[in-house]
Amino acid sequence: MGKDLIQKSLKDSLFTGIIALALFGPIVGLRTVAKNEVLVVEPKWFVVLLIVAFCAVGRFFINIYSYKKEQRRGEPSSLGKVISNFLDEKGAQIAIAAIAFSVIFPFMPFADRYWMDIAIMMMTYIMLGWGLNIVIGLAGLLDLGYVAFYAVGAYSYALFAIHFGWSFWICLPIAGLFAGMFGILLGFPVLRLRGDYLAIVTLAFGEMIRILLLNWYELTKGPDGLTGIPRPSFFGLPFKRYPDEGVETFHTFFGLEYDPMQRIIFLYYLILVLALITNAFTIKIRRLPVGRAWEALREDEIACKSLGVNPRNTKLTAFAIGAMFGGFAGSFFATRQAFISPESFTFIESAIIVAIVVLGGMGSQTGVVLSTIFLIGLIEVFRDFESYRMVAFGGAMVLIMIFRPRGILAKRKPTITMGKHG
């Protein structure tokens, strides 16, 4: 038996090696390099050899291992199940602890500029994830063009702030409103489509918005982007070392030393509050009739129709509200960067946000946080390996789908149940 197994595994790993050679031979092994404006091929056989050997040996051990596992055939313990059970029991305490941690985070000793930037980025993605969770998780509409609303929010914030000089707190709701209106505008014709068609159409819309931003030079400055977007102020007190004549700044008002970190910390709290508002809104709206209609529609559209729920209007509200939160996040992005260009709103951003929602477990608010920390952390860890980090990211997407097709927190409790829990 054992000999047979080894023989079979060897054969299999030989086959794997051949396939790996075919896969990596031309693309990795023959790198095209421009020399004197003519492309020449630079062989890199050693790398290919390493990869092929790795694949073949890896395949061999996987075969042996999976055979042994098959013999044992125990109940596989699932990390996700453990996590979700744990969260079920201690959910409320953990949520409070997590919020408390994020509130004191900027004053932790290790929270320097680098960590703060990562924290702000993660918070932005968490907010976007929570916004998109309304569309994907609650209403079950796969939106692959969410970044369009992010872009609309960012550009409308930037344009209003630059041309009219309005403050952040006026522009923020306007940006959200614009993004929401775009959501209705784009959603209206397409929301009756089935799942994967809808996905492609939303993707097309996302790209259309980007192409529009790229080519409408008079309004958006095209690929040059918009510069000089006003920074947010602390209720009218700007964060500047050398303010204009007669303007009181944040540090003089509070009698502090000037420190550029003050602005960063303020931005951090800003996005924290925005994200928590998104979360609170979602938790509340799930219990309202419209939220329940979303979830019902996700489960069975025909049943909903026969119960008198208007699917189009219901989906449209989800789309518009999701878009609105995307717009809020967009205006935060614009004010944080002070510079936006269509570069920031490519399809890959949409893919990242969708990945966050789906990998977290659709409809799970905690799942969004976990998968953001995991995915954005992954991208961050691989930062030094510039082009490999997205390979790792895509690979993680595939792997999570294979091992946990419903996401990290797959268990989905109905929001409203009949009986004593009600």
Binding site: A22, I27, R31, I211, A303, A351
Partner: protein, 303 residues
């Protein structure tokens, strides 16, 4: 009139490329009901394999017709390996999973392929010296000379030949029958003693080879490629598949042709900056007014 004719020629050429990619989408959708989002990137890999082999063959001095055939074959074989592997790794484990899982997995695979090629081949655009030059000129007396290049003839001819072989394969061979049976009912097909897994693998292999031929043509026609070409070409070919009616193979060819024509006429007469918008708008309009495309079967929803 001359300008129109020129656009028509260019459009048919472009349409051939899209049609070949669209077949891959339509076949996979027909057989396992998922949008193979990574298919555009398979096309991109095909273009890269073609580029590398063209460069290598340029050193050997083999005559052009043999080089063309060899490059086509090499691209088909190596790209088919990619299609096969992607299916085995990313889609097969998810066959019984819920609706969105394969789509997300395909999305991940698309990101992996793009960035892997970028890492292995570099992010800069690659230029290939023209392989086939020259052509016929018409209307030499008028102020707009219409050119029909040999390359365009080659592209259209190869497409027609491949489509003919492919149609025969689907309608006349055992494999084609098995594929059509899998499309209708996979469980039942398995009960009839047909290896469903192998049939699905073959579908991916055929689809990827056709996409790789499109890649060869793309690199010859435009002479410029980078790791990102698969994304746009993929969406447009998908649009073509939807336009023709997803699941229908003649529909994919027709749709590809239409998308190619729409795009060329749009950039010829309206605006070249917004040429991608033409394809996207077509997609939206088609899906709203003919959700099943021109040659697709109507989709009846049951409780």
């Amino acid at each position: 009139m001359e300008y129109f004719l020129q656009q028509l020629i260019n459009g048919v050429t472009l349409g051939s490329v899209y049609g070949l990619i669209a077949i891959g989408y339509t076949m996979v959708y027909g057989i396992i009901g998922m949008i193979n989002f990574a298919h555009g990137d398979i096309f991109m890999v095909g273009a890269f394999v073609a580029l590398i082999s063209f460069i290598l063959f340029a050193l050997t001095g083999i005559s052009l017709p043999i080089v063309l055939i060899l490059v086509l074959l090499i691209a088909m074989v190596f790209t088919a390996c990619y299609g096969w592997t992607v299916e085995k790794l990313a889609y097969k484990p998810l066959r019984k999973s819920f609706r969105l899982a394969p789509l997300i997995s395909a999305l991940g695979m698309s990101i992996v392929l793009q960035n892997y090629v970028q890492a292995a081949q570099g992010a800069r655009i690659k230029t290939l010296q023209p392989v086939i030059q020259g052509g016929f000129n018409f209307f030499k007396d008028s102020n707009f000379v219409v050119t029909l290049s040999y390359l365009q003839i080659f592209i259209v001819l190869v497409t027609i030949v491949l489509m003919a072989i492919f149609t025969l394969l689907i309608t006349r061979t055992a494999l084609g029958r098995a594929q059509r049976a899998c499309e209708q009912d996979r469980t039942m097909t398995a009960l009839m003693g047909i290896n469903v897994d192998r049939t699905i693998s073959m579908t991916f292999i055929i689809g990827s080879s056709l996409a790789s031929v499109a890649g060869v043509m793309f690199v010859m026609y435009y002479g410029v490629i980078d790791f990102y070409i698969g994304f746009l070409a993929g969406i447009k070919a998908f649009t073509a598949a939807v336009l023709g009616g997803i699941g229908s193979i003649p529909g994919a060819m027709l749709g590809g042709l239409l998308i190619g024509l729409i795009e060329t006429f749009w950039s010829g007469y309206i605006s070249i900056e917004y040429k991608d918008i033409a394809a996207f708008t077509t997609l939206v309009i088609v899906l709203i007014f003919f959700p099943t495309g021109f040659l697709g079967k109507p989709d009846i929803e049951k409780v």
